[in-house]
Symmetry: C6
Subunit: 82 residues, 6 copies
């Protein structure tokens, strides 16, 4: 992709980090199927399926692990204090 | 989402951390399918399915990894003790 | 849940840690479907299914990662020795 | 379970660690379905299924992450060298 | 494979890291099924399936964890700052 | 297994590490189903299935996390520089 959509993994709050994890999860789908019309057509297939929603939440959880680690879990003292 | 639902990953006890992991797992679903009626209708589909429940427990386990690390596993001395 | 079922992630031995991982996995299911009768009825569905058992073992493996890290893998010297 | 089957996560070699990961994966199944006859009957269901074997390998990979970390990846100097 | 396709896990930006994670995910497929014609024929099977796309995004998320850690999450000071 | 197939997790390059991750993934299958003929017969079942290939790539990604960590992500200075 030629557009810039991910400049940093750092966010101000855990919630923004969770929302970034959602962005990463959607981008993983979009890189695999770039056609917006196809994606739109597939939406009901998973958004109305319990299994599909759980699988989506699993991807988000995996990406949130990365984002949370990147932000050192939003501890006040940013890095390991020695 | 405009409401604030995740201000910190820190909890007092491991059990509260596990319950936060459940919240994260449900939010992952809710961001993907925000319609409360649809979610309610889908509930029997996974809550009465062994596979659906195992998959839900997998998402919770993944989020609990994040929450547990964020809390340094609730060790008494909170951060890197040297 | 109002009962206290998880006071610490620390266990004396790796085997007790593995058994705690099983408890966490079952709790993940129980929070999602709290009705004991429904859970009992679903038991044959996964306990007699190869796929269901493998999926259960996957959840346990994920939770065991958390418990093992929390116990610093039961190394004799508990924390990073400097 | 009352028998002692996991006294340590430490192994001499990476291969023994991989084999321990297999033991952990099988124990995850056995705790969920303790009946040996049922397990034996289910064996063809996954051992002759490509999906079943890949899922089994996924559980092993997850447990191997734990065992490998516990052994500090079998580096010569065992723990944090500074 | 005899061609060199992975010389380093280091990238300049998180987005390049995400794209490297996609490369790793595709290579995982290609090592398992090296025949380009077969892969091309299978493409509609997952690129037009909600479940297939979510599963692809899950693989990417897993590989992105590795790439992000390898880049120390693109923190300005590259390695352990004390 | 009595043969020695895994003496170290250390590789010279990331690509060799990725290929080791593939070896680990295949060994996970082979320990579960040691019969070479059965494995050969199952090959078309996953190598010609989009879902099967994605699942294989997921196992490889998980094992690559382990191998990459074991090699400290192939950083020039092998260990945390203080």
């Amino acid at each position: 992709m030629t557009d810039i959509w991910l400049e940093t993994l750092i966010t101000n709050t855990p919630q923004q980090g969770f929302e970034l994890a959602i962005t990463l999860s959607r981008r993983g789908v979009k890189y695999t199927q770039p056609d917006a019309e196809t994606l739109k057509a597939l939406r009901p297939e998973y958004a109305n399926s319990a299994d599909g929603l759980t699988a989506a939440s699993q991807v988000i959880a995996t990406n949130f692990q990365t984002v949370a680690a990147a932000n050192n879990y939003w501890w006040k003292s940013q890095f390991c204090v020695l």
